[in-house]
């Protein structure tokens, strides 16, 4: 063990390894902050460069890029209401209202602090609990996934604002939009209208950008608004504010870590689940969505909590949990390494070196983020009459780059129009996004479970994990109903 650690330290403690993490992070943050460009793209772009590097340097570069991109998505979400990555879609809910209140710097600082803390939790879990978490994740079959997604769906009520019915309509529209494309089981067409470009379904990123970024541009600016820049910045995040959100950050980190270890879930649902739990339990729950620092802490800790733990199934089982770890698997294999249980025996120094590098990356993310935040926060000084057209051009470039498809640009514009109607009718867009992300997983796991059980519904209560999530779902619904009854009673008493 000590020998392995010493060998690992000598492997990792070189200036070019540290430079690889720092460089990867800086580039990742910039990529993540550009709407449409995701961590997947950043990691895929950098993969060929890793061919010529030491295995550990190449892997640390990819890790840095991934973490940087996940954090970078929050910058544009907070400053220009355009999530740079899907994982940052939840950050918009409180991030942009804080910018409008003149607290952009505070919001960016909180996003950074929450991301680094949750990332550290995730990395420590990766290092110390890989075996247990991998065993837990392996017990997830379609019925367990289905009950987990049922529980995740309850967060829709938490982001529905004042009208749950409008929130449910928004969620229903998201679920229906997610069904467009070829049916996964029978390969029949669903609402493609004969357009071959729609057979792969509607991409998530154009919908996300269209719903969040475009509606305010479509609404337009009055004379006063056009010249308006965000109010003077209210200063940086204080220790007291950070400490006030620490419980939420720790909870978000744990939620992110657990969901990140389960293949195919990803950081966006983790962010929404963490947000919903924070809203449910926080004494400031009613301020969520109106510019609450704790909301940003919850969203960012949820998505960053996934960063380290997505490596758990990859390293322990050789199973990539998401597209980024699939690319990383490629990087391992190019260097003649095969992830799986044997890697811990055959290449122990390399695995330890990777762990040390990943641990360092949490701290480096903080310093890289602080430097970048200082530059990006100047965006709030641009008048809206110039900022909006610039964001529009940025969105079109970014959305086109996702699939090199003009259809995606059209989808973004149509989503913008739908978002504008939602703005007029006071319908919240967040339930649409949650349902759009979770809908395909929900349907797919429901159908796979029913095929396994030959049409019997008892499959959903066959395992303790399913029971746990069913209990959590019931508790969450009961809590939401109770809370709204109490609220309406309080309103009646007040009147």
């Amino acid at each position: 063990m000590i020998e392995n650690l010493a060998a690992a330290l000598s492997l990792v403690a070189t200036w070019y390894n540290l430079a690889a993490i720092a460089g990867g992070m800086l580039f990742g943050v910039v990529i993540g902050a550009i709407p449409g460009l995701t961590g997947n793209m950043a990691v895929a772009l950098a993969l060929p460069f890793t061919f010529y590097m030491n295995p550990i340097t190449g892997l640390l570069l990819l890790v840095g890029l991934y973490k940087g991109a996940i954090y970078g998505g929050s910058i544009s979400a907070i400053l220009i209401k355009t999530p740079g990555t899907p994982a940052a879609s939840c950050t918009v809910l409180d991030g942009h209202p804080l910018t409008q209140k003149g607290q952009a710097r505070k919001a960016l600082d909180m996003a950074l602090a929450a991301s680094c803390t949750a990332d550290l939790i995730s990395n420590l879990t990766l290092i110390f609990c890989t075996g247990w978490i991998a065993a837990f994740a392996l017990r997830f079959g379609p019925p367990e996934f289905f009950t987990l997604i049922c529980f995740s769906m309850t967060m829709i009520a938490g982001v529905s604002g004042n009208s749950p019915i409008k929130g449910f309509i928004s969620a229903g529209l998201g679920l229906l939009t997610a069904t467009v494309g070829l049916d996964l089981m029978f390969s029949t067409e669903r609402m493609t209208f004969g357009n071959p470009d729609l057979m792969a379904g509607i991409n998530f990123i154009p919908v996300l950008i269209g719903l969040f970024a475009l509606p305010e541009m479509i609404r337009g600016l009055t004379g006063d608004q056009a010249a308006q820049v965000a109010p003077v910045d209210a200063g940086r995040l204080t220790w007291t504010e950070f400490r006030g959100s620490l419980k939420t950050i720790l909870r978000g980190g744990v939620i992110g870590t657990l969901l990140g270890a389960i293949p195919a879930i990803g950081p966006a649902p983790a962010a929404f689940l963490s947000y919903s739990e924070a809203r449910r339990t926080s004494k400031n729950g009613d301020n969520f969505g109106k510019g609450e620092l704790e909301g940003i802490a919850a969203a960012e800790s949820g998505n960053s909590g996934c960063c380290g733990s997505t490596m758990i199934p990859l390293l322990s089982l050789g199973v990539p949990g998401d597209p980024i770890t699939a690319i990383m698997l490629g990087a391992f294999m190019i260097h003649g390494l095969t992830p799986g249980p044997l890697i811990f025996k055959q290449n122990a120094p390399l695995v330890y070196a990777l762990f040390i590098g990943i641990l360092c990356s949490s701290f480096m993310l903080y310093f890289a983020g602080r430097g970048i935040v200082r530059v990006f926060s100047k965006v709030v000084n641009i008048p809206k009459r110039m900022l909006y057209p610039a964001v529009m051009v940025l969105c079109v470039f970014g959305v086109y780059a996702v699939n090199n498809s003009m259809l995606d640009v059209l989808v973004m514009i149509v989503s913008g129009a739908v978002g504008y109607v939602m703005l007029l009718t006071d319908t919240p867009p967040a339930p649409f996004i949650i349902a759009f992300i979770l809908g395909p997983m929900f349907e797919d796991n429901l159908r796979r479970s029913l095929i396994i059980s030959n049409g019997g519904y008892e499959v959903f209560i066959a395992s303790p994990i399913s029971w746990l999530f069913i209990a959590l779902t019931v508790a969450s619904i009961a809590f939401t109903v109770l809370r709204s009854v109490r609220k309406s009673q309080a309103a009646r008493c007040g009147a």
Partner: protein
Amino acid sequence: MSPSTQDTVYGLTVGIGFSLFVFCGIPAWVETPPHVRIAAVSPTFWPRIVSIFLALMGFLLAFGGMRRRSLSGLETAPCNAESAPRQRNITPLVTLSVFLAYYLLIDVLGMVLSSVLAMLVMARHYGERNWPMLAFVALALPLTLYAFFVWVAKVPLPLGLFA
């Protein structure tokens, strides 16, 4: 339009629209394989469930709106989104038209030139009057983005006439 009337109209539109979708849209636009043994596995099952749910929610919203209307009489308070004074020049329809024109021009003029034009039109439309600054930003931003996407991100962008 008062909030309760708006909810009624919105709810009825959603309710009637998705009721029609269940009976006409799904059979027409969702292909069903001939032999599906388990009903819940059929490709139409999930869209149908969601559409019925949407129709119910729509009618529920409309019912709530009508109930509030009948309880409180005709409300006079306008809803928040409509309360802003109407603008003379900057209208959502114009902005949407600019977006659509931008989209259509990309194939013809390429990504850079259409972005320059779109940015000029949008910024003018939003009230920017500083021409030198506007011209600089409208040129610099699309060119920088083009350079980044093509040379760094290796994403080929449409060139239109310049292909």
